[in-house]
Amino acid sequence: MDTFPATLLQIAVTAPILIGLILITGRNLPRSFASGFAFGGFAIPAMLGPWLLLLWCTPTAPAQFQSAGPWGFGFALNGISAPLLAMTALVGFAAGIKALTQEVEARNTYLGLILFMLGGTLGVFATNHIVGFYFFHEFALIPTFILTLFWGGEGRRPAAMQMAIYLTAGAMASLAGILIALDASGLSFDNATFANLVEALARVEHLPAATGALVLFGLGTLASLFPFHSWAAPGYTAAPTPVSMIHAGALKKFGLYGIIIIGLSSLDITGGRLGQWFLWLAVANVFIVGLICLVQRDLKQLLSWSSVAHMGPIFLGLWVCGTSGKAEGLDAAVFLMVAHGLSCAALFLLANAVRTRAGTYRLDELGGLATRAPILAALFIAATMASIGLPGFGNFWGEIGIFLALRAQPLWLQGIIASTVVISAIYALRAVAATFFGPSSEALDKRFASAPFGDVSWNERAAAAVLLGASLLIGFMPSLITRSTNPLTAEITVHAQHAAKAPAAEPVQR
């Protein structure tokens, strides 16, 4: 019999999927019914996700909340997926509130697909099985393409197409890598849980060289690792706002999660030439993409690009964990994954609130919005400050932890990486000033005269409050996350060391 938390975990994943199914099949359900159902689909995980994280941190928690899922592969949490699941649930809830207030064609299908996307993302973090990982991964991505293609904004067709191709290619590459690893380890599909895979691979003397690279670059594509990032900015920009929120905030994190739980744990991805590539590509994410952010002239594109740039420090946290043999970089990286999810979703949400009022995302047409919408300005500034790592918000701990973890690197390299604190401040504050400060722009005045708009609505406030409140909470009480991650990151660091040392031991045996 499943334990109580294991049942909660199952409900958290299946509720949005089942409700999504009801909405998609019942396309003609009356609006109020559909809204109620959909709200339930977003709210149930939002309640269960944080609850599960708290349960997970209690010392008497039953092992891993494990259960056999309805699809044949198991459900389980671990120290890293528990906070990610909670974050996804909150991001999904905020995105849900946004989606429920939107007027779109085929609304029930739209809501149902977003619920699918959410359920799939939750599922990735709720399974302990390779098959489950890929199943939910596709389950989340396919609705993302469809939603972008049919409900997206300007440029949605090429963006959706490019995204689909990239992400499918990435998934194929990583799957190829994992199949090679599975083959080498001699595990059958039925037993291919993460733990079994790591254990089995630890016994394997020699893995094909490309295994680690396929997993790293394949899953890295999902997380927009340079130079496989070209899909990300147009993809987020063209997608409808709730989709951008879930995608950039939560869904993208499963690429990183996969790299941690499969790549870092058992395939030496941070050593040798591959490790060098990993380092430099991650630095490019920080620095080159950071520079690209500086020239963006469209608010949503800027947010999209900056969300790519913010992946750089996370990759570096993973890298330094593998090379230094210390868990601190990984702890900080997971922390930043959670915090970035919250702040990034909040920014997409609030940027959309700007657009519904000002009618544009173009920074040169915006200006002076704070006079007409002061609370929107305050929330947007708070979210911006969170994203550029102001202490008090969660992102700060993640960023500073990664910088400190990199302390053994050459000073100039640390300098390039830490320059993100300046670069991100430049583009983020420039956007704030261009959108909210200064005198009201002409375009805005005209629009206000023809269609007067108010300050941020209660729905938007509630959604932003959930995200920013959660970010503040982990900012003030970082142990909420680290209590969950600490034991597992320590374990993974040991595995990573083992994986890295395996080739070095070879000559001795000969």
Binding site: A169, L291, T371, G415, A418
Partner: protein, 614 residues
Amino acid sequence: MPSDYSCLVHWILFLPLGAAALSALLLRKQGTLAAWLSTATAFAIAAISFNLLRHEGNVTWHVELAKFGDLSLGFGYLIDANARLMLFVVSFVAAWIHLFSVGYMKDDSARGRFFAGLSIFMFSILGIVVADNLLMTFIFWELVGFSSYMLIAHYFDKDFAAAASKKAFITNRIGDLGFILGIAMCLSLYGTVDFAALKDHAAAAKTIPVAVGALLMCGFLGKSAQFPLHVWLTDAMAGPTPVSALIHAATMVAAGVYFMARVSFLLAPDVLHFIAISGAGMAALAGLCALAQTDIKKSLAYSTLAHLGIMGCAIGLGHPELALMHMAMHAFFKATLFLGAGSVIHGCHHEQDMLKMGGLLKKMPLTAATFIAATLSNCAVPFLAGWYSKDAIIEAAFHGEHIAIFAFLSLAALATCLYSGRMIRLVFLGEANSEEAKHAHESPWLMTLPLIVLGLVYSVAGGFLAHSIIPASSLQPIGEALKEASFHLTAPSTIVGLLSLLIGFGGALKFYGAVRGADALQVLSPRTYHLLEHRWMDGLYRWYIDSVQRRIAEFVAFLDLLFINGVAVRWIGGGVPAVLGYLTGRTFHRGQVRAYAFWIVLGTLFLAWFLIAR
């Protein structure tokens, strides 16, 4: 036995945070309530800090917030004599500035936001003072930057305020970049970021690497507006005047000095030498630049830059206690000067141009009296607060046989007297030069009371009062400073000071009386005036941003679009099939989605393969 008063420190730190949260969330529209809540909090903190001054002994308190691997993220207090003094100075000055703001901001529609900002600033600056480790210092350091940003942007619908707030934040962050690297280096070398532990390590080590001090110094350069990161401070005057008084004169900029004093054991001789030279040079240069400003607040801002240079110089000379003492004295008289300027601006219906003032002595007697008293303290007239600290530093430079530094500081002393005399002459003496000045009126008591308290009591008589109330242990930094200086009336510093007063102050009073409604120097030598007025560093940065940084960024973005998005993916994905299509007779033509997809996948894989297996 020393008593454990860490509980009092909790109150000091978290009262303002609570007030800020309450104001921001609930009192946005109840401006008056928010104003008094914030002010009451500030006075409560001042009372507690005053109480702390009477406690003996150090207090430490520490709690671990979380762990990243083995890295402990700690939060704690280290209250020593320096911290107690700084707590008192900050909270006392701040309390009166809060009261002043109640009057000054009376008609502002966004008082809730303003006072929430002041409270969050109090939380941040007090956090720096009590912090027991580098990481916690950095946390509050950043928060100070944020609150400064919000308060400078108070009049956000004005373009200059929007630009100034951004500039202040980004410039501070450039300094913070070095600060982060410094923290990382401390952690890497000594395995800890705790001040007490670092001090032990530093004492045990024979030499401290230059890089540690140089990197930590970057934080100081940014926050205390030292060369070459000084450019933000004069622009920061775009904020409301009480903000300029509190943040950009008395406390925030002093935080850098306090921090340098706190980690002085980590500063290698080379670093100290740099700080001393650049501080002294800065003091002289900024003092002269103050002569070429007509905006009263900007002129005062340059004066602050000069004094920060002097404090930096004291640290560089190896006298952090002198720097702290000057910081304390400066906090009082500069706050008075800024509040006085605020009162003048308020009285003259928001006129800030000194050339349009004049003759305010009779119309605003209380403001004038306190302003002049603080000015004299600023000019280091013997036995006033500024004299004790500033001349002690000049004396230290002389005894340290740093002739260049001594010369720069002497020039700074002269410049101080010049711009002070000019300010008094233009604003308070002569006749009114505009309608606004003609109809000037004295400010209400809410504004003059803080002026009187801060100005008269502290600029003039602070030293004498302090001795009778506060135990020697808490005033240890000041006591030591004075003992070390032990200067007398024939000391070089006193001679320099008196000569400057005579030539500078007297000369300026006469010189600037010659021309009415214009700047005498500008009339006499427009070229000199322009040389001092022109903002060379701003020009340099502007050029860098427009011609270097932006072009590089645009070029990189172009390369990304061309090579990664365009050639590597699209070209391999689209170009190869096009060529093949041509060769094989339109097999792949028509841009069918499936073929397109296939080739892009292949292109991506090819690129991946190229990167890995090359």
